[in-house]
């Protein structure tokens, strides 16, 4: 779960290794695009499967016209508000789960179940309860991210070394000092891993909820493209969505590595 563990394990011929890896990467992408172009022109036709060039042109147009900025801003604001909502409820729940056996048993089925309930359930329920406004996606995101945040906080709380806490108490550190310098540093990595995962899931559920009922956002645009039978636009919006998601994911990973630099000694040990 925690990255940076694999990097120290390649002492042998790292240069040739890197070279082969990037060669594979390039060939993989070129091959994929070539296969896509070949399928769209020779096997099928440009309408059934628009080629990479056509989809790229549509993506460029979406970005240039400013629709990308508008709809992504709408989707992101819903995701963040919902995520904040989910985290502010999920964190205390997770803390209770980590500290008490009763609450762990109480929330067990809910937390386990949340990962297996089809995403469509959240989307359509949000639509029925809140209609097609702003609130539906926000609540759906809150509901989906809550159990994941709770689970990662619970894992972190359980992972706190009781001996460290005992030692801190023996040296008469105050409660606030213990929670600030002992508890928090060992909980944070788990929380961060949970946040990254929950965010990836929340972002997809947000788009799905917009597909089912909304008047703006990425999901709405994908739905609109579907209803106007434009395969090109469905692909263009989807690729923009994925690029955006992977950029956020990578960004969070970089932040995570920077924050937890001090922890590396623990990984190698």
């Amino acid at each position: 779960m925690i990255p940076a563990a694999t990097e120290s394990t390649v002492p042998r011929s790292a240069a040739s290794h890197d070279w082969r890896r990037s060669a594979g990467l390039v060939i993989g992408w070129v091959g994929f695009l070539a296969l896509w172009a070949f399928t769209s022109t020779v096997i099928l036709d440009e309408f059934t499967l628009p080629g990479p060039a056509k989809v790229a042109a549509a993506m460029w147009e979406i970005v240039i016209e400013g629709r990308f900025a508008d709809d992504f801003a709408a989707s992101i604001s819903k995701t963040f508000i919902g995520f904040g909502l989910g985290a502010s409820i999920g964190a205390p729940v997770g803390y209770a789960m980590g500290r008490s056996r009763y609450w762990k048993a109480f929330f067990h089925d809910g937390v386990v179940g949340a990962g297996s309930i089809p995403g469509i359930t959240y989307a359509v329920l949000a639509l029925v309860v809140f209609g097609t406004g702003y609130l539906g996606p926000v609540i759906a995101v809150g509901l989906i991210s809550m159990p994941f945040i709770a689970l990662s906080v619970a894992e972190g709380v359980e992972g706190v070394d009781p001996n460290l806490v005992r030692m801190a108490t023996a040296f008469r550190r105050s409660d606030s000092q213990i929670s600030r310098h002992v508890m928090l540093p060992s909980i944070m990595p788990f929380v961060f891993a949970g946040v990254r995962l929950a965010f990836a899931i929340a972002w997809k559920v947000e788009a799905l909820t917009e597909v089912f009922g909304s008047s703006n956002g990425v999901g709405f645009q994908i739905r609109f493209a579907f209803q106007s039978f434009s395969i090109t636009n469905v692909l263009a919006w989807t690729l923009l969505f994925i690029i955006f998601m992977l950029v956020i994911e990578r960004g969070l990973a970089v932040i995570e590595r920077r924050i937890f630099k001090w922890r590396t000694w623990e990984q190698t040990a």
Binding site: L25, G28, F106, V111, G119, S152, I201, I222, I242
Partner: protein, 298 residues
């Protein structure tokens, strides 16, 4: 459920300690959770006009199972739609699983294949199932093809990634040792490769099941004329929210039963050899950690 919570304190002796212990036992906590969910649902139904109450939904489901009429629509067609969906789901799952296993073995065995497919797999993992549903509906129209292909396309990357991880988890030291002791290929496959891979294989299958179920529902919702997803949409379009919610509960119950009583035990069984290494239930691949619980194929 409510009855058993009420009965719990009276069965035990009136001593407060025992009552307290019974009420805070793990099973009691779980039952309390379900009661709390039901109460929450009822409260929501009182607040939101469009939200049907629990008993209304159950009443509808009963009629959908046994027959009768609901707002002029003939009901009692539960098994027709359910079996159609399960059939599509199973076909898609089997094909997706096979594709995923082949790709996963390739990625896990050959470094070059891994670097070739790594990024593309990442994109496939990030693709929401609804996109596949849209594309397949536009390609194949309304029918059995869209749901089946959506299940295949949505589930195979998750199988491939897990199987690749399993192949890489086979210890190279044990391989070298088998070479040194001239262990025949067959025994090596049976005692070295299979135990190492099977756990990841079942994890991949479990992911595929959960993701495939969501995918089949989405594809049926947007492009089908029968099946569970279509029936839910039918009631939704008719603004009969109790019918719609009844089917949503079928979505959930089906996957809960399949995951809880089939997939998780299988996964645990496949990982059971790990137990004695890590000690006391840890590392058997099913404990309550975010890695094991989070699946969520959206």
């Amino acid at each position: 459920m409510t009855a058993s919570t009420a009965a719990a304190p009276t069965q035990t002796s009136p001593r407060r300690g025992k009552i307290r212990r019974a009420l805070t036992a793990d099973w009691a906590a779980r039952i309390t959770f379900y009661v709390a969910v039901l109460v929450g649902w009822q409260l929501l139904a009182w607040q939101v006009a469009r939200m049907p109450a629990p008993w209304e939904t159950l009443d509808f489901l009963f009629r959908e199972l046994t027959g009768g009429s609901q707002g002029g629509v003939v009901t009692g067609v539960f098994w027709d739609h359910f079996l159609v969906t399960v059939q599509r789901f199973s076909i898609g799952l089997v094909v997706g699983f096979v594709i995923g296993v082949i790709l996963g073995i390739g990625i896990g065995t050959f470094r070059f294949v891994k670097s070739l497919l790594n990024d593309i797999m990442l994109v496939f993992l990030a693709l929401p199932a609804v996109i596949w549903a849209f594309l397949t509906v536009m390609w194949f129209g309304l029918g059995w093809e869209a749901p089946v292909y959506t299940v295949i396309l949505a589930s195979f990357p998750f199988v491939a990634v897990n199987v690749a991880q399993g192949v890489r988890a086979v210890s190279p030291e044990l391989h070298d040792m088998s070479d040194a002791f001239r262990i025949p290929r067959q025994r090596r496959l049976r005692h070295l490769m299979l135990p190492a891979i099977s756990g990841y294989l079942f994890t991949g299958l479990r992911f595929a099941v959960i993701i495939g179920w969501n995918a089949v529902l989405l594809a049926e919702w947007f492009g089908s004329t029968n099946g569970v997803g279509w029936r839910a949409r039918f009631w939704y379009d008719a603004a009969r929210y109790r019918g719609f919610l009844g089917w949503v509960i079928v979505f959930i119950i089906f996957i809960f039963l399949l995951d809880g009583f089939v997939m998780r035990p299988l996964q645990r069984r496949a990982f059971r050899w790990r137990r004695d290494r890590d000690g006391g239930g840890d590392g058997d691949g099913t404990e309550l950690t975010i890695d094991n619980v989070v699946v969520m194929g959206v």
